[in-house]
Amino acid sequence: MKLVRDFKVAGYKWLNESNFIIELQSAEDLPPIHPGNFAEIQVPGNPNVFLRRPFSIYDCDLTYNTLSFYVKIIGEGTATLGKLKQGDTVNLIFPLGNKFDTETEGPVLIIGGGSGIAPFLLLGKELKEKGIPMTFLVGGRTSGDVHLTDVFGQYGDILITTEDGSQGTKGMVTHHPVIQEESFPFKKIFTCGPDPMMKAIAEIAKQKSVECEASLENTMACGFGACLCCVVETTTGNRCVCTDGPVFNIKELAW
């Protein structure tokens, strides 16, 4: 059941000047939220932002009825979301999209590029509950793009790459020894980040014959399958990222 509901801004956690976590609270109970789900957030108070913005659900707390979103400021919509006050009303359509498939023997490798780590906290929580060991590989252009490793470190090992070498291994995530080395202990890869990164990882997963799911990001007008704007080419034709995804097994994608 998809809902349209008002939330109140409960608080912010700023990670640096352009990355933050916003926590929104509902007065009513939340429905079940699954790893991979997203919400369409109506950005209040800015007439230049006409459409809602889709964000992965970063965290949820069913006791306090809160949803959290990891936001990187890239335009007017995200900038406005960063300037709200505690108690401001924000309207959400949620929960949207499908979920990650955690039916695996594990261990798993979770690869996030920049703000692409957003859907992986809920995934980590579910995997931990199932007793599946996980390793996070987090990549960024520079150390300023790598956040929340302390949080993710509670669920599994953390590996880091930066293109400028300012943190972790220098290079892209695909250059990291965990991927380059002959032995590859992982049974499944989950990835989210820029398309070129996910495509490179999908290629590696195919070579290693490892299951791989990618959470895609696309421009959406609605988020619930009405506009047909957010399509991705799949082996069965154009499909909507919002309703058939955002999580796709890479075997379904025409990459």
């Binding site: 109506q42 359509i93 007008a221 399509v231």
Partner: protein
């Protein structure tokens, strides 16, 4: 009690609020958000004779108070619609109206013939105004000769209510409306989207894969109102008005300008339950001004 029933030709709507083709999918996508049986009607996603994958991504660009799209009529074709989609929605308690598209006159005829036989669907909207297909679509609707030919050809094979959807990308939309009326249309709907363009200055590239696309949303509302007023004064058949309606007040403006019914379009993306609140808002407006019949409002602009 206000009478909200309106007739578009022989098509009976329980109220003047319908949803625009391409913005409401097949209706079921909205059933979590609202009671779709409350609608006057649903104009479903554009149909073509054969399966169409639509245009390449990116298909959408947000603009000031609106958006551009170039979806390109992605659909699985008329036979799939009749066999698999219509059976699931025909009993949804509201009028389901197909939006008919074609690359050629023969395509329009073939799709319309099939829909003429479809029990439970009382009207079609002939789309001669889609700006996002390489062949056909808007090309029919911006040329008086082909607009007449397409309408006449479909009129011959389609015996129920024929609504022709007009393109606003013309100099004299009232003349186009008169032409399709003379060619046998039972009603006209307008406006389809305006041909537009969005550019990414940093990349120095167009944002849409098709370079140009159709502009919709509140940014087009004043032009849409003007066109509806012109068309209303030029023809005798009913007008179904649309173009940036975001709330009940907008809908009332479209009715005053000459619309017998209205279509809610882009607003469905932003607020998926807005159409049902627009119905309530129209009723409330009628109550407030002692209007007994919503039909009395159509074209009642005081000049």
């Amino acid at each position: 009690m206000v009478n909200l029933n309106v007739n578009i030709g022989a098509l009976k709507l329980k109220n003047p609020v319908t949803t625009a083709s391409g913005t409401y999918a097949y209706g079921e996508e909205f059933s979590d958000f609202m009671d779709i049986s409350k609608l006057g009607g649903i104009f479903v996603k554009g149909l073509t004779l054969h399966n169409r994958e639509g245009n390449a991504y990116p298909r959408m660009a947000e603009t000031a108070s609106g958006m551009l799209n170039s979806v390109g009529l992605q659909n699985k074709g008329i036979d799939h619609f009749i066999a698999h989609i219509f059976p699931a929605i025909k009993n949804s308690g509201t009028q389901i109206i197909a939006n008919v598209n074609g690359s050629t006159i023969e395509d329009y005829i073939a799709v319309s013939e099939k829909l003429n036989e479809l029990r439970g669907m009382e009207a079609i909207e002939l789309n001669i105004s889609c700006p996002n297909v390489k062949e056909g679509g808007m090309a029919f609707g911006i040329n008086p000769k082909s607009a007449r030919e397409a309408t006449e050809a479909v009129r011959k094979v389609y015996k129920k209510t024929l609504i022709v959807k007009l393109s606003p990308n013309v100099t004299h939309i009232d003349e186009m409306a008169k032409i399709v009326e003379d060619a046998g249309a039972d009603a006209v709907s307008l406006v389809n989207t305006f041909l537009g363009m969005a550019i990414d200055a940093e990349a120095r590239k167009p944002i849409l894969s098709t370079i140009t696309g159709g502009l919709s949303g509140p940014c087009i509302k004043p032009i849409a109102l003007r066109m509806i007023w012109q068309v209303y004064n030029a023809i005798k058949v009913p007008v179904v008005g649309m173009g940036g309606i975001m709330n009940a007040k907008d809908a009332i403006e479209f009715i005053l300008a000459g619309s017998s019914a209205i279509q809610v379009g882009t607003a469905n993306f932003v607020d998926p339950a807005i159409s049902v609140r627009i119905i309530e808002g129209i009723e409330e407006y009628c109550d407030r001004y002692g209007v007994k019949d919503v039909n009395d409002l159509t074209g009642s602009l005081k000049i």
